[in-house]
């Protein structure tokens, strides 16, 4: 980065940081003004699962079979043992194996 850009780069980073903090704190802040009715509470309680599915689905579709197998293996491991670490390892193993075989 050039000398003239030096301050500019830092300014840009500060702007990015402020924008991200607004997202991190904004939802929490805003909910102070929304009454926590039973309905609002239901929507908020339903969010975690929906965020997970909405995040993961497009990735699975984009990455194809290895990602699908990884998710299935992780889900199965989680169902059987209820162990996060085991589930992640099972998922990674499934994806790595699928990629190795599908490419080869």
């Amino acid at each position: 980065m050039s000398d003239a850009g030096q301050l500019g780069t830092v300014a840009a980073i500060l702007a990015m940081g402020a924008a991200t903090y607004a997202m991190r704190a904004g939802g929490f802040w805003l909910m102070a003004y929304v009454p926590l009715t039973a309905r609002v509470r239901r929507v908020l309680e339903a969010l975690p699962g929906s965020v997970v599915v909405a995040t993961v689905m497009p990735i699975v579709v984009r990455e194809g079979v290895p990602a699908g197998l990884a998710i299935a293996a992780a889900g199965a491991a989680m169902l059987i043992r209820r162990n996060d670490l085991l589930a992640v390892l099972a998922g990674m193993a499934a994806a790595a194996a699928a990629r190795a075989w599908l490419v080869a």
């Binding site: 980065m1 850009g5 030096q6 500019g8 780069t9 830092v10 840009a12 980073i13 500060l14 702007a15 990015m16 940081g17 924008a19 991200t20 607004a22 997202m23 991190r24 704190a25 904004g26 939802g27 929490f28 805003l30 909910m31 102070a32 926590l36 309905r39 509470r41 239901r42 929507v43 908020l44 309680e45 339903a46 969010l47 975690p48 699962g49 929906s50 965020v51 997970v52 599915v53 909405a54 995040t55 993961v56 689905m57 497009p58 990735i59 990455e63 990602a67 990884a70 998710i71 992780a74 989680m78 169902l79 209820r82 996060d84 589930a87 992640v88 998922g91 994806a95 790595a96 990629r99």
Partner: protein, 243 residues
């Protein structure tokens, strides 16, 4: 759920045990996060950011996907307009965090502002999902949030710096599926979150709407649109049952 509701107005406690539990719950998400952090650090070096600039970005923005997107779209000339555009781009990638914060309100709302607002700077995807799961089981120790968050924070700053220094030495993280660890961890969380067929329907809605949104609208809106559609569907189904 009953636990969480009846304890809604009780101010969360802070304890060392909570810190430890949070760090323990977070551990499975670390390998994938660190692989990603190495890639971010390497990209910062390749794009010509000075060490102090890279460190500042990792510290202040502290959201890998948005940093990657911003660096790909980094303007040639930093003007007020182009800097605003980059900040806006970063905000859209991170807009899902609005939902994280909103859903933390019923639990952490009773905390004083000076405790919660600094803590929110440490919000991450795995950190949030861990908190929601812990809370749904009736837990009420804010130390769990902080403990998990501190572990990720330290690991993130160390690994992005390592990535910056090592640059292109990294072997292909795709080979051992490191790029998929976060989605795998996320998906595994669905098992404890599942609680009946209404949720299955809501998740199907979330997935379908996310896929459709990804096709129709460029960018990262699919997370927020899909998630809202799914949770509105679930709330609607719950009310239909209660009536």
């Amino acid at each position: 759920m009953t636990n969480a509701r009846s304890a809604a107005s009780v101010r969360p406690s802070w304890s060392l045990d909570g810190l430890r539990l949070g760090a323990m719950l977070m551990a499975p998400a670390l390998p994938g996060m660190m692989a990603f952090a190495i890639a971010i650090g390497a990209t910062e070096a390749r794009k010509g950011f000075a060490p102090i600039e890279a460190a500042l970005m990792n510290l202040l923005v502290y959201a890998g996907a948005s940093q990657m997107v911003a660096m790909e779209a980094w303007p040639q000339q930093l003007t007020l307009a182009s800097v605003s555009a980059v900040a806006l781009l970063v905000a859209t990638v991170n807009a899902r965090m609005l939902l994280f914060g909103a859903s933390l309100r019923p639990w952490l709302g009773p905390l004083p502002a000076w405790q919660i607002y600094p803590l929110l700077q440490l919000t991450t995807d795995p950190g949030w999902i861990i908190c929601m799961r812990y809370r749904a089981r009736g837990g009420n120790d804010a130390g769990v949030f902080l403990g998990g968050a501190l572990l990720v924070w330290v690991a993130w700053l160390a690994t992005t710096a390592a990535g910056y220094l090592m640059g292109a030495l990294i072997a292909d993280p795709r080979k051992i599926a490191l790029d998929l660890v976060l989605p795998i961890f996320f998906a595994a969380m669905l098992v404890p979150l599942w609680n009946g067929h209404r949720r299955t329907v809501a998740w199907a809605v979330a997935g379908a709407v996310a896929l459709a949104t990804e096709r129709l609208i460029p960018g990262w809106w699919f997370v927020i649109v899909g998630a809202l559609a799914g949770s509105l569907a679930e709330a609607f189904l719950e009310e239909a049952r209660d009536v």
